[in-house]
């Protein structure tokens, strides 16, 4: 079976010449939950942008066995869906319904199918009664759930999430954790909250200064306190 994602010798530098990612080799199996951990500015977000082909670097990337390049982009984006850091950027339509319907409509589904998908997805994230609301009427937790709903409704095989726990209070973070644990898709989650990562991910990939430092079971990496401290992270409560 094809890997969900595979990067081979991938490097990327910003237009001004600063190196953002260097020589990344990485593969993720289907149906796994992987945490990308690392300090701010380590290159986590850049990596998540590179996988679905939003930025172009050197080396090769495969998503579900398909080479990421211009002519495959449409196909790739129906397989992998990205949920970005700021829900305000993710929710750009006047109502939640329109926002969740945006992806399925672009996939070319019929109006009935789209409607059903939107209803199912909103039910899954617990926002059924908010379908007609405008995003500015939602709370921070609801916005986050809504942002995830917008990608879930596309029924992708792989979902990337950039700091999904940012700006959430403990209860909302708990709800988010429950929601993510229910998903069967491959999840790639970038976060600098170690407790959150330890809760969700089976595997952790430590990234710093654009390089992969460690890649192993979550527990193994996170229990290594000297490694964690060296890269500005902390051992989660779960493993102390």
């Amino acid at each position: 079976m094809e890997k969900a994602i595979a990067l081979k010798n991938f490097s990327y530098q910003y237009p001004d010449g600063t190196k953002a990612l260097s020589n990344i080799n990485l593969s993720v199996e289907h149906h796994r939950r992987v945490a990308l951990i690392g300090p701010n500015g380590a290159g986590k977000s850049t990596l998540l942008l590179a996988v679905p082909g939003f930025i172009k670097g050197d080396g090769q990337i495969f998503v579900d066995g398909i080479h990421v390049r211009k002519k495959n982009l449409k196909k790739i984006r129906s397989i992998i869906a990205s949920c970005f850091e700021n829900p305000e950027d993710q929710l750009f339509m006047p109502t939640l319904f329109d926002d969740v319907a945006f992806g399925p409509l672009n996939l070319g589904l019929s109006p009935e199918q789209v409607k059903k998908r939107v209803e199912d997805t909103l039910k899954k994230v617990g926002l059924s009664n908010m379908a007609d609301k405008a995003p500015h009427h939602l709370s921070a937790g609801q916005k986050r759930a809504a942002a995830i709903a917008t990608v879930l409704s596309m029924e992708p095989k792989i979902i990337t999430l950039d700091e999904p726990d940012g700006n959430l209070d403990p209860r909302n973070r708990k709800n988010l954790t429950n929601l993510l644990m229910e998903l069967t898709q491959t999840l790639i989650i970038a976060t600098c909250n170690m407790d959150f990562a330890a809760e969700i991910a089976q595997r952790a990939i430590l990234v710093d200064k654009g390089q992969i430092i460690a890649d192993d079971d979550t527990e193994k990496i996170m229990k290594n306190s000297s490694l964690m401290n060296e890269h500005g992270l902390e051992v989660p409560k779960k493993f102390i």
Binding site: N86, M93, P94, T95, A101, D132
Partner: protein, 258 residues
Amino acid sequence: MHHSYIDKFSYQNSIIHRLDSRVKVITVLIYTAMVISLPKTYLTVLTCYLVGPFALLVLGKIPLKFAFKQVLLVSPFILVLALSSPFYDRASLTVPFGPITWQISRGWLRCCVILAKFVITMLALIALVSTTRFSALLHGLQKMGVPKILVIQLGFLYRYIFLFIDKVQHILQARAARKMRNLGFKKETKVAAAMLGSLLIKSINAAENVSIAMQARGFDGHFRTLTKSKIKANDIIFALVAVSLMIFLHFIIRPVMT
């Protein structure tokens, strides 16, 4: 930060809220035109025209206090214009009104008429927008032939203005917190330019992110939405009632009272 958002009432549910947005837009537009076309010195007939927006507001469960506050908020420009008319038109008029007779200058009468018209047309507009969700209004506009690119722009604007209003308020608070005295024009301009410039850069960055988020969900330049609006029996009944009210006002009340 919590807001009492201006569009909060459009999410209520009432007979008026459930009407199709197109029917409401067209009704309010025609009604506004009728009010505007009324003679400039007849104040009393305007009371009859107040019935329409009043009915919409009350049946739409919009608090009248909110509606009138809204009118007051947007009135300064028209207030200046209306109040200037007494200075230019001092001809005296005798206005009989039932048991009483008033002596009033035509300028003042005109001033009152302008203000009354303003209140009525604004109430009609407020009734329209506070009983219609903006998204439904956009669907209606698109069905009425408004270019799609403009509808998309309006959608984006509605989505992001509240966010930006928050941002600006934060910036203004930060400025107020640090500014202890009047800085003089040059410095003030520089501060304002830096505030606006950084806000503009932030917006451009946000736009890049939104654009990526759109592409991530398969956006290819064709903006697709599901339109749900359909004219129902209720809409036709409303239209009939509105038309008969307008006919009554225009052909019976207006000739009799003016």
